[in-house]
């Protein structure tokens, strides 16, 4: 606390240059860890780890999770939680598969019908979550735990519990395994485009500003005239819609609805986001951090296999990184509020 009446130091730059904020931002330490991991695996197994095809493997494996994590980042920045993303992904995949089956054929129109079905069903689950959380004031943990069960149950009801394998080959061939210029997988491009758009939305727009403000002080935001309820509904709707997109991408990649394969997607997404420096208590977080947080488990998984360690070590390592990340967040908060 300065007691001098001088208001602002005039020679102080209004804002640090972008690269300084980039290097010094909250996502920097986790970015260094990611780079460190890549360096270690490169040194240990240069031939096998450092290759275009291996890079493609890692990013392709992480693409669907990244799309989920982008939506969940918004939710967690509001100090909320969305446990339903994995189930909504499954439901959206089933909805898309059924819709495309109904229309039939391999045309672009058919694929678009599937996309619309996936996005719309994701949006619907998201709006339901948001409405119950913002208007009915039921805790997000409970609402999304409920919709986790409901969405998965509904998907099983629709399919009779059997994976839908009748997916247009055109979808698998293009979105699922196609590459731009024969090199860049469309799946990866889509995931990074979503992350980039989400990052801009969070950092540069009023939507993002309200997301941070609500996570930081919900009542304060309300008194400042922010339509908090409406914004929360939008945030959960966004998370649901991106889970719907993730369901479509997953369908394209695996050519089946993979109903049983997403029961821990929600926890993987949350772990990635928290590792990336986003606080579970809200108000703090970056999309770049989330991208790093998604790739740390992915690189560990891939690296352990390549260096010949049991891949099960990945789960141990990710768990440890998660706990350390939250501990660092707690330290930061304590030192901030000590004054």
């Amino acid at each position: 606390m300065s007691t001098t009446p001088a208001a602002v130091e005039p020679d102080q730059p209004a804002q640090a240059p972008w690269w300084q904020r980039f290097v010094g931002g909250s996502s920097a330490p986790i970015g260094l860890i990611l780079i460190g991991l890549i360096v270690v695996f490169s040194v240990l197994e240069y031939e096998n780890f450092v290759s275009v095809s291996n890079g493609r493997n890692i990013t392709t494996d992480a693409a669907v999770l990244l799309v989920l994590a982008v939506g969940s980042t918004f939710v967690i920045v509001t100090a909320g939680i969305d446990l339903s993303v994995g189930s909504v992904l499954v439901f959206a995949g089933v909805a898309a598969a059924k819709a495309m089956e109904q229309v039939g054929g391999e045309s672009v129109g058919t694929l678009l019908v599937g996309l619309v079905a996936a996005l719309a069903s994701g949006l619907a689950w998201g709006v339901l979550n948001g409405f119950l959380i913002a208007k009915a004031k039921i805790p997000a943990l409970i609402v999304t735990l409920g919709s986790l069960g409901m969405a998965l149950g509904a998907a099983l009801l629709i399919t009779g519990g059997v994976d839908q394998r009748d997916v247009p080959f055109k979808l698998v061939e293009t979105v699922g395994s196609g590459r731009l210029f024969g090199e860049l997988p469309y799946l990866v491009l889509i995931a990074f485009a979503v992350a980039l758009a989400g990052g801009i939305l969070l950092a540069a727009t009023r939507f993002g500003r309200y997301t941070y403000a609500i996570g930081s002080n919900e009542e304060g935001a309300r008194r400042a005239g922010v339509a908090v309820d409406r914004h929360l509904i939008k945030v959960y709707a966004l998370s649901g819609t991106l889970a719907g997109l993730a369901g479509y991408l997953s369908l394209a990649r695996f050519a089946t609805t993979t109903i049983g394969g997403h029961s821990t997607d929600n926890l993987q997404a949350i772990a990635a986001i928290v590792i990336g420096g986003t606080s579970l208590f809200g108000g703090v977080g970056t999309m770049l951090g989330t991208v790093f947080g998604v790739f740390i488990p992915a690189v560990l998984q891939n690296g352990f296999v390549i260096v010949g360690l049991q891949p099960f070590w990945q789960q141990v390592a990710v768990g440890a990184v998660l706990i350390i990340a939250v501990y660092l967040d707690q330290l930061r908060r304590r030192s901030n509020y000590q004054r």
Partner: protein, 258 residues
Amino acid sequence: MSASGRTPLLEARSIVKSFGKVQALRGADFTVLPNEVVALVGDNGAGKSTLVKTLAGVHQADGGEILFEGRPVTIASPLDARALGIETVYQDLALAAELDPASNLFLGREILRAGPLGRLGFLDKRAMRRQSDEAFERLSVAIQDVGAPVATMSGGQRQGIAVSRAVMWASKVVFMDEPTAALGVVQTRNVLDLIGRVKGQGLSVVLISHNMPEVLEVADRVEVLRLGERVAQFERGDVSMEDIVGAMTGALQRKDGT
């Protein structure tokens, strides 16, 4: 009519407000004159905060009327109060601790960029930061790093940010609910100076406080609330601490000519 004979800026008449069976305001009157610092004092439970929240649109009165510049008005929400030029510094400040000072000043009233980017919701952070710097400078609020989260700042700085926000948007009245309650000596001094500067900008300040020396120092007038009613109005100069405390506790009889 008020004690000094000027047309009041804001006048509450016979405000009644109950919470369940508890009657917090029992026909309370309150007057704010143009460009003055008026202290609203009273013992715990006298209804000060309820009265202010009613005038700020947080609560709706059960009865009575509110006049603004002589016209009857309805203040049904904080947005109504805002439209009249009334802003409130809440006791808990209502700041978003993880955001920087500029973001807090413009929370809910962000400046968007010109052109198509603005229509997409892109913020003009530079303009908001510049105007925030100007607001802090006008009120001599010392913020070393305007890009740091409010959480990293001292209690006095946070108070300064909350007051700057209210002053920036208020065109008529700023309510301050116990602005010095949580502050140390030096920081209290700064806030009291701040109140003087707000008045210097042509606004009226309603100061709610328990601290009598503080009230006597900065207030032009003092209105005393007791058990949900106004029991006394004092002008600066003809009032002692004993008078105020007497009115607060009921030891002194009504002294306002009503």
